[in-house]
Amino acid sequence: MIIEINNMCKSYGEHLVLDQICLKVKTGSVFGILGRNGAGKTSLIETMIGLRKKDSGQVTILGKNIERVNDTIKYHVGLQPQTSALLPRQTIFETLTLFASFYPNPLPVEQVMGQLGLEQISNKRIDHLSGGQKQRVLLAVTMIGNPKLLILDEPTAGLDPQIRRSLWSIIRGLRDQGKTILLTTHYIEEAEQLCDEVAILHDKHIIVQNSPQQIINAQQTQTLEDAFVSLTGDLVREGWD
């Protein structure tokens, strides 16, 4: 297992957001954390890697106990945050060269650009890029340090279906290279198409962790979306959605 979380709890003041979270992620897989908006997916991954202090529990990543962001995270884990901005007046090539300079053994910038289809626009400024291009650059920034584990927080949020599918094939390619990808999403289709295993986060807990097909079979539904609604209920939460 590349990630093991045991009984992790996290609250913001009086408000408990994660309660007794247990999770195991296999090395070399694409693992999805599925949940509604505001379920706590971002809090889960930020607490897991030590960006936020957990209240209790144990987190092990790459065999190391994680309390705060440490060298294990910095050198071996790449995180693509849900919202982030790059330096707008730098070109793609300059941005990747800058981030590559932080690592002792980065991937070649040209190789990463080739993998993500950025070589034709490598001299374009970040503020001149479309949404899909920016997401690919952010993914490139996440990959440039050659991490063993990539954590992508809602990597396809707000993107066209075509761009979403092209990112899916990139993610599958990364898995085929032996990398582990942990992604959060509220797009059920994305979890169903892309992930080897899915954990559903609902009401502060992980209510199920299994492959998409086994979740569908267990809930006796046709699709993962139906299984998700069956597990999480179909009420619209006031003040949340």
């Binding site: 960006l51 790449g78 901005a85 981030f99 932080f102």
Partner: protein, 203 residues
């Protein structure tokens, strides 16, 4: 007399440029990239806080050196400084910039909003300017203003520059004392900056 007036104006301009540099070219941009999430990306890389801070310092020092060289050329043309004073003037300005830039970096660690940073920055500039002996030489400043000015490290930068540019002025401390205070203040600012620096907004 005209040269004296022009020299005084240039020095006043230099001070104003320094303080505005601290706020508008260092503090505000750092707050902005902290707010928009760019620095949060750096947090997850092996880049260390002190490396980032020193790179910000180095970049602005290089940029400012170009401007300082132009200023020296103007002052030489006016006859305000002689070639023999060049080295001393350059050293004083360099260390002065160090203090000013580290002050700007320190200020950026306290603000989460660019607008609030700008508003407070403007107030801080005025405060520093008034209480750094611009109304006169430090020995001639009296009362409450003198007390506050004595605790303002920018006062000593002001005194040091005036000592280098003008001859026969009434000074409170020798040049080396003023410079020690300027360098010491810069070191304190940078040590505190590294301790208080955050890669992203506090939640």
């Amino acid at each position: 007399m005209v040269y004296l007036l022009l020299s005084s104006c240039f020095l006043a301009y230099l001070h104003s440029y320094c303080y505005q540099n601290a706020v508008f070219t260092i503090m505000q941009p750092l707050v902005e990239i902290k707010k928009n999430g760019t620095m949060a990306l750096f947090e997850l890389t092996p880049l260390k806080k002190r490396e980032f801070i020193f790179s910000m310092l180095l970049l602005r020092t290089i940029y400012t050196l170009i401007w300082v060289i132009i200023l020296i050329g103007i002052l030489l043309m006016l006859g305000t400084i002689q070639i023999s004073q060049l080295f001393l003037f350059f050293v004083v300005v360099l260390f002065g910039m160090f203090m000013v830039f580290t002050f700007g970096i320190l200020l950026s660690t306290f603000f989460n909003s660019v607008e609030v940073a700008g508003a407070w920055g403007g107030f801080i500039i005025v405060f520093i300017y008034i209480f750094s002996g611009h109304g006169g030489m430090l020995p001639n400043v009296k009362g409450f203003m003198k007390t506050v000015s004595q605790f303002n490290p920018f006062t000593y930068l002001n005194q040091a520059l005036q000592q280098v540019v003008f001859k026969d002025i009434t000074i409170a401390f020798p040049l080396y004392v003023n410079m020690l205070i300027v360098i010491g203040a810069g070191l304190i600012f940078i040590i505190v900056s590294v301790k208080t620096f955050k890669w992203k907004l506090e939640v």
